[in-house]
């Protein structure tokens, strides 16, 4: 097991190198000098010189890359000229908002799609199965920002059920401890504020969950059906087990493996989706930060966000991989 973890971690290193190289390459290949790119248009000559020195632009490319890598490793992502603050601090500041949104979106997606897929599979060929199929193919076909806009139109505009943008109302009284609004409200013992925080989360989380629901419910359906056709399920029937016990003890654990895999794969969609959903709902997370950085051509901030998102994504996948392996005894001992 430990061997497996070590080999996975080692395997991720070349990927990290190639990925950072690609991001560095983007900076280098982009039209214009990196110093021009990384500085606002009205920068003075001294600033340009300073930048050249800081980035070692007069040095060979490999040395520049090494420096870039060193900066990344020490969490020095440069300074945003828009916010006049270190990029790393800006990202850290916005991180809780994005994580909180992603967490609730994933929670909603799993809570809706796994039961939906199970119901469809256990009623295969019946009307309810067809309905779930229609729902899930629509889910993967509809762009999330459009769903978001429609939700705003109906649930916020016409029915006035939820706020249509932002994370907290002006003058939010709950003291910040963790940076997670709902968690802070609970810590402060303010249940009404917890509910209010959730009401702000409702539409963006639902929107972000929507696209995942289609795929996860589909995979759940097919893996439950596949698991049900396996012969050991038949053995369980021949043992005299009840249908319910079989579903719980043999069918679900076996179906869970592909479901966990697809949820892991969907984390990528979650990250990309959150960028767009944050923009739609003016959610103050990393996605909107990236959007703002790009629109004012704040390159240090853009580079920093792209690099940290990607590294985060790689590490997340690594974790999923390891968790998934622990779940399956066949992989556990083969690779362990």
């Amino acid at each position: 097991m430990l061997n497996f973890i070590v080999s996975r971690v080692l395997g991720a290193i070349p990927v990290l190198l190639i990925v950072t190289m690609a991001i560095f390459g983007l900076l280098r290949l982009a039209p214009g000098d990196a110093a021009d790119l990384l500085l606002p248009d009205d920068a003075t000559d001294e600033q340009v010189e300073e930048m050249r020195e800081a980035w070692g632009l007069d040095r060979p490319v490999w040395e520049q890359y090494g420096r870039f890598l060193g900066n990344l490793a020490s969490f020095d992502l440069g300074e945003s000229y828009r916010y006049r603050a270190p990029v790393f601090d800006l990202i850290l500041d916005r991180l809780p908002a994005t994580l909180e949104l992603s967490f609730y979106a994933l929670l909603v997606a799993i809570l809706v799609s796994v039961p939906l897929g199970m119901i469809a599979a256990l009623n295969k060929g019946k009307i309810i199965d067809a309905l779930v199929s229609v729902f899930s193919i629509s889910g993967v076909s509809a762009p999330s920002f459009w769903i978001g806009i429609l939700l705003v139109l109906f649930l916020s505009g016409y029915m006035n059920l939820f706020p249509s943008s932002g994370r907290v109302p002006y003058g939010w009284p709950v003291p910040e401890v963790t940076g997670f609004v709902t968690l802070d409200a609970l810590l402060a013992g303010a249940f009404d504020k917890f509910v209010e925080g959730l009401s702000y989360l409702a539409l963006p989380a639902l929107t972000l969950a929507f696209a995942m629901i289609g795929i996860i419910s589909r995979i759940t359906r097919s893996s439950v059906i596949d698991a049900g056709q396996e012969e050991h399920v038949f053995t369980a029937v021949a043992k005299g087990m009840t249908r319910r016990a079989i579903v719980r003890r043999h069918l679900m654990p076996n179906a869970a493996i592909p479901i966990i895999t697809i949820i892991g794969l969907e984390l990528g969609a979650l990250i990309s989706g959150s960028i767009i959903v944050e923009v739609v709902f003016s959610w103050p997370g990393i996605g909107t930060l990236l959007f703002q950085a790009i629109s004012v051509r704040d390159m240090p901030l853009t580079t920093g966000i792209v690099a940290s998102y990607t590294v985060f994504f790689i590490l997340l996948n690594l974790m999923i991989d390891i968790v998934y392996t622990m779940f399956d005894p066949r992989l556990r001992s083969n690779k362990g």
Partner: protein, 330 residues
């Protein structure tokens, strides 16, 4: 119960009377198994022999009532220890499955849950059918595993199926099947997926346990050499019809039905000069197009026009040997 049994002293453990199985496809009703009758006595090793598609696995599953009801219909009577199985409520049937009637399957690779240790899977059967406490269950698991010749039963119980070889898995399946001291063991081609040497080992274990516990065994196979070696009574199935049945020494030794003879002719033999074929010419007809009369007639070298004329009567000999043929060989 109709018919007179050979051994009046003891009622058969299991009996099938005029069993027919139909597959339903929309409005169509296709007969897969027709009018099959046989008995299995206490402690008897009964082998049901046939090529693939003969309906032998269907019969095994019908006994356990494991056939999906919306797709398959069963007619005729199946009774276990004198009780008709069709009338049992589902809850009663569940008590029999894995209890008094247990089953082992063809594919030891896929018949065990890959995510659960062997011991735990055996324990599940004990949980359902016995009121043993946790400690007693663990002791029983060890006892069962050593009965199927695992040297270190405590260690084996902790292993996952993928950590065992095919033969070991099949032995674990047998241990599971024996957990609640069944009366009838249904073994559906238990050795087909295994190497020849391991086949012998598994067969020896089944036979030894049968002797030791006076177990009735319904052994389903297409392997006549295994049948010859272990079975006491044999039923030969072709196209869902029982062609010949009776004591092993009669059916295999003096086969009267041309189909049994043809099957035996396919088994490699060492006698010099013996004409041998690798198979019977032609294929088993599909249930969609059963020919009228004898279903084997198109592949039978002795068939005449009368063989197509209608249903073939059963000929009874010595009270224990039945042959469904107009032109028996002996």
């Amino acid at each position: 119960m109709p018919g007179t049994e050979p051994a009046e002293a003891e009622k058969p453990v299991f009996s099938a009377r005029n069993l027919s199985i139909f597959a339903r496809n929309g409005q169509k009703r296709i007969r897969i198994v027709s009018d099959v009758s046989f008995d299995i006595a206490h402690g008897e090793f009964f082998a049901l022999v046939g090529e693939s598609g003969s309906g032998k696995t269907m019969i095994a599953r019908a006994i356990m009532r494991l056939l999906p009801r919306h797709m398959l219909e069963v007619e005729g009577e199946l009774s276990f220890q004198g009780r008709p199985l069709a009338d049992l409520p589902e809850a009663e049937m569940r008590k029999l499955r894995g209890g008094a009637i247990s089953m082992i399957f063809q594919e030891p690779m896929t018949s065990l849950d890959p995510l659960m240790p062997i011991g735990r899977q055996i324990e599940e059967t004990l949980e359902i059918h016995s009121d043993l406490g946790r400690k007693a269950r663990l002791d029983r698991i060890k006892e069962l595993l050593s009965e199927v010749r695992f040297a270190e039963p405590a260690k084996t119980a902790m292993l996952y199926p993928h950590e065992l070889s095919g033969g070991m898995r099949q032995r674990a399946m047998i241990a599971m099947a024996l957990a609640n001291n069944p009366t009838l063991l249904i073994a559906d081609e238990p050795t087909t997926a295994l190497d020849v040497t391991i086949q012998r080992e598994v067969m020896e274990i089944i036979y030894r346990l049968k002797e030791k516990h006076r177990l009735s065994v319904l052994f389903i196979s297409h392997d006549l050499s295994l049948v010859h070696q272990y079975a006491e009574t044999v039923g030969v199935l072709y196209g869902g019809v029982l062609m010949e049945s009776g004591p092993e020494e009669k059916v295999i030794g003096r086969s009267a039905h041309p189909y049994t003879a043809a099957l035996l002719n396919c088994v490699p033999r060492r006698r010099i000069g013996d004409e041998r074929r690798s198979g019977i010419a032609g294929a088993v007809p599909s249930p969609l197009e059963w020919p009228p009369g004898c279903r084997f007639k198109d592949r039978c070298e002795y068939a005449g026009t009368d063989c197509a004329a209608g249903s073939i009567p059963i000929e009874e000999r010595d009270g224990d040997w039945t042959i469904r043929c107009l032109r028996p060989l002996t």
